[in-house]
């Protein structure tokens, strides 16, 4: 069988390290990054390969117990565990940001225990105040500086523009892939989409774009796409870096057609807008345009000095209503990893909002482990029965 894009994505996804080691053998320098706040364009522009740090749901967490307590989200503990076990030994450096509080802590703990040749911590303000935007731009300059020192090369504005262009291309292609989930049945399944996303997180951006083109081409053609199912789900919440959870949903009568998580739409949807100084566009995209609950957005006060709850919810979650409409979603899974505060706090508010717009949702808290997932089965199934 000729290698299809989807098969290749699946392969990469099964052992992410293979492609990394190949790149390394080809003389490329690989920089691990955590979460969606490290500015990838800067790395790409300097010919570094940004390689996303993910956990492994199949690998029991053991070593990380020595340096990250169990009250840290299991995804991060898994990432740290893989690091300590040498599974990321091909990295030439890491960039971690102040995504959430614990990922910030993980950045330092990683440096203490693994001491990579290059490490940069990118503080990321929590608000979008004008002063915070300025601050973030200044912090990007420092990031640029340490990258230049590390590579011994200058990061020119032209190169940065070019990198922005190619990353924007990837963002557009991911959107296109997501469009293929809009028909009923969707042309591409939730599990396949996650596989592609994991592959993208493991490849240089240009190769990722190639893969995306191939996948989009073949998905449009194919006859054996996912079958129609009564439920069309959107999955919201903490990172999903594996196929297990989505697979569980799709194996019991649902198509997962949309997501709002940090490996999926959240990471790709907003492009970088062109600006005179590309740093402005980058700062705006990563701090303001990226839609993550870790960033606090004030609800603008009008004449009255009172906040209106529904307006606030609309400001924070309105985009989900659009997603639901465009992707014809009839149920939302609010999944939160245990100990994830960022998403945990959102749950009651988001549930209120979903109630308000008449979209059923269910909250699932889980432990990032195969065995634990089995216990979610009954819960997911009951939800499908509720909406069915």
């Amino acid at each position: 069988m000729a290698e299809t894009g989807l098969n290749r994505a699946k392969e990469i996804c099964q052992d992410r390290a293979v492609s990394a080691r190949e790149l390394k053998a080809g003389g490329r320098k690989i920089i691990g990054y955590l979460d969606i706040f490290p500015v990838l364009e800067m790395m790409t522009a300097l010919d570094l390969v940004p390689y996303r740090l993910l956990g492994d749901i199949n690998e029991p967490i053991t070593r990380a117990d020595t340096c990250l307590p169990t009250v840290v989200c299991p995804f991060l503990r898994s990432v740290m565990d893989l690091g300590l076990k040498g599974k990321y030994d091909f990295l030439d450096g890491v960039v971690m940001a102040h995504g959430c509080e614990v990922s910030e802590k993980t950045a330092h703990i990683w440096r203490i225990y693994l001491d990579p040749p290059y490490a940069h911590f990118l503080d990321t303000p929590h608000t979008t105040h004008p002063s915070a935007r300025q601050q973030f731009k200044a912090l990007l300059k420092y990031f640029k500086e340490t990258l230049e020192v590390f590579t011994g090369k200058e990061l020119s504005t032209e190169k940065l523009r070019e990198a922005i262009r190619i990353h924007n291309r990837q963002r557009a292609l991911v959107r296109e892939l997501y469009h293929l989930r809009k028909p009923d049945p969707p042309l591409v399944s939730g599990v396949e989409t996650v596989q592609v996303l994991i592959a993208l997180a493991s490849l240089p951006v240009a190769e990722g774009n190639e893969l995306l083109r191939q996948v989009i081409g073949e998905v449009k053609q194919r006859k054996n796409g996912p079958p129609g199912k009564p439920a069309r789900l959107m999955v919201w919440g903490s990172i999903i870096d594996n196929t297990a959870l989505i697979d569980l949903m799709e194996s019991i009568g649902a198509n997962v057609v949309m997501d709002d998580t940090s490996l999926g739409s959240r990471a790709y949807f907003p492009p970088v807008e062109p600006t005179d100084d590309p740093l402005d566009g980058l700062a705006h995209r990563y701090l303001v345009a990226l839609n993550s609950p870790r960033t606090f957005r004030e609800t603008i006060l009008n004449k009255i000095n009172k906040k209106d709850y529904l307006t606030d919810l609309e400001n924070r979650f309105g985009y989900l209503k659009d997603y639901a409409r465009e992707w014809s979603v009839n149920g939302v899974i609010l999944q939160v990893l245990r100990y994830c505060d960022i998403h945990g706090y959102e749950v009651p508010g988001l549930s209120d909002y979903l109630d308000h717009i008449g979209l059923p949702g269910i909250y699932l808290e889980h432990d990032y482990g195969k065995a634990a997932l089995a216990q979610l089965r009954t819960r997911v199934q009951a939800f499908l029965e509720i909406i069915g």
Partner: protein, 261 residues
């Protein structure tokens, strides 16, 4: 000539030893039953009878274990973590880490060359992390406790338990038998589950060799093998693992006496 007594009132069994001049003279074990006070008294009587001495001949007694407070004739109570460290130090001076598997909990203890505790971690209050899990499963499989170790060693195909609860594990074991799984495979599965819990404790305190196992778990070759495989280390097993803690208590009684001088 001074005699010392160490009394370890465990949740399942009460263990006692008598030492003289640092030598182990006698040991005795009986079920703790429901009244720890009675168990302690009986244990003392048995020990005195075995050594042929009277209560007045005993210079010092230290009590330990979860029922230590019920040993009214003791001169001091110490935690079983301390006495276990002292005891293993006497048996194997080279040991720096000891895994103590009792009926109620498992603990991993690091110790110095003089037998002082330098770090420790104790399992949660969940039967799935203690020797009791093994008892429960042995019971439903109708296998004697003594036999579970050797049987488990025969397993080629250990089952994986789908639950982390000793009680649900019990029903799962029953169902597994009804499904035709071999008893040894089920036992090996339990041994693996418990060994995994011990590994977590070990990560917390850090392994330093030599490493030994004590408590009732030290009688179980199946558990020993699972732990050894998990930790990739060879375990030293004392000749009488269940008496290590009581021995440690007697040693502490000796020390107490020396301090007086």
């Amino acid at each position: 000539m001074a005699y010392f007594m160490g009394i370890d009132i465990g949740s399942g069994a009460s263990k006692g030893v008598v030492t003289r001049d640092g030598e182990l003279l006698a040991c005795h074990l009986l079920p703790s039953g429901v009244n720890y006070r009675v168990a302690a008294d009986k244990l003392r009587a048995a020990l005195l009878a075995r050594t042929n001495i009277s209560a007045e001949d005993v210079t010092g007694t230290v009590a330990t274990g979860q029922g230590a407070a019920n040993v009214l004739f003791s001169h001091q109570q110490v935690t079983d973590i301390r006495s276990c460290a002292r005891g293993i130090n006497r048996v194997f001076p080279s040991v720096r880490t000891v895994i103590d598997v009792q009926a109620q909990s498992s603990q991993v203890i690091r110790l110095s060359e003089s037998g002082q505790v330098t770090n420790f971690a104790v399992s949660e209050k969940c039967a799935a992390g203690s020797g009791r899990f093994l008892e429960v499963i042995a019971n439903v499989l109708r296998v004697e406790l003594e036999a579970i170790g050797p049987l488990s060693l025969k397993s080629r195909n250990p089952v994986t338990f789908t639950t982390g609860c000793a009680v649900f594990g019990e029903s799962e074991a029953i169902s597994r038998v009804a499904e035709g799984n071999a008893k040894e495979d089920i036992l090996a599965g339990v041994h693996k589950a418990l060994a995994d819990k011990i590994s977590v404790l070990m990560e917390r305190v850090g392994l330093e060799t030599d490493c030994a196992i004590s408590g009732g778990g030290g009688l179980d070759v199946g558990l020993i093998r699972s732990v050894e495989e998990n930790l990739e280390v060879e375990l030293l097993v004392p000749p009488q693992p269940r008496f290590v803690t009581a021995l440690g208590a007697a040693i502490m009684a000796e020390e107490l006496e020396k301090e007086k001088d």
